[in-house]
Subunit: 111 residues, 2 copies
């Protein structure tokens, strides 16, 4: 059992729900596709694919109230990333320098 | 660092690329949205959400030639799941009984 071939595999929720939906969605909270686009752009720009950093957009990650959400495996670190600056900091600090961004970490729970 | 709140977090690629694209896509190989729909249905049917099994669809997971792909974190087990029967077996054996389905495991690499 190994987490290779990826050192970090990050997923950003790009789920969209209709306006007024009781759960809302990461997109309506300012997250979603634009943040994923930035994430992919930054990872490419810093040449991190070659260092084992993989990123993808995903459907709902659950825990909507903690969003906009990103999860990073295999560590299982969850981020509430709301701006492109947040994304840039996660890429530079966590993915390029192995230092998670504490101020953005959330701990989702079902309760 | 913990992988909670999910015991298993599975992502299935539902990327679509145009016909004739050199990389193809998991959808063109028989995977994609229908398999994700089945995965979500089966997990719901077996009441596994409550046991910490979360599933999502995702954009490209890389390693297209090994697809149609599913990855299960935090273990980092990769599956080539091609049919609804494959999906059902992964859910019943791996997610419900903690026994990965060896015959469907692949080991993607960049080489």
């Amino acid at each position: 059992m190994s987490h290779f071939p990826n050192k970090y595999h990050a997923f950003i929720c790009t789920q969209r729900r209709p306006d007024g939906h009781p759960r809302g969605c990461c997109t309506s909270k300012g997250g979603g596709q634009p943040l994923f686009n930035r994430l992919a752009e930054k990872v490419t720009e810093m040449n991190l694919w070659e260092k084992g950093v993989s990123v993808a957009s995903s459907s709902c990650l659950g825990f909507c109230k903690f969003g906009p959400l990103m999860v990073v495996y295999p560590e299982g670190i969850w981020y509430k990333a709301e701006t492109v600056e947040d994304i840039d900091e996660i890429v530079s600090s966590h993915f390029a320098n192995d230092t998670p961004v504490e101020r953005l970490i959330v701990t989702p729970s079902k309760a």
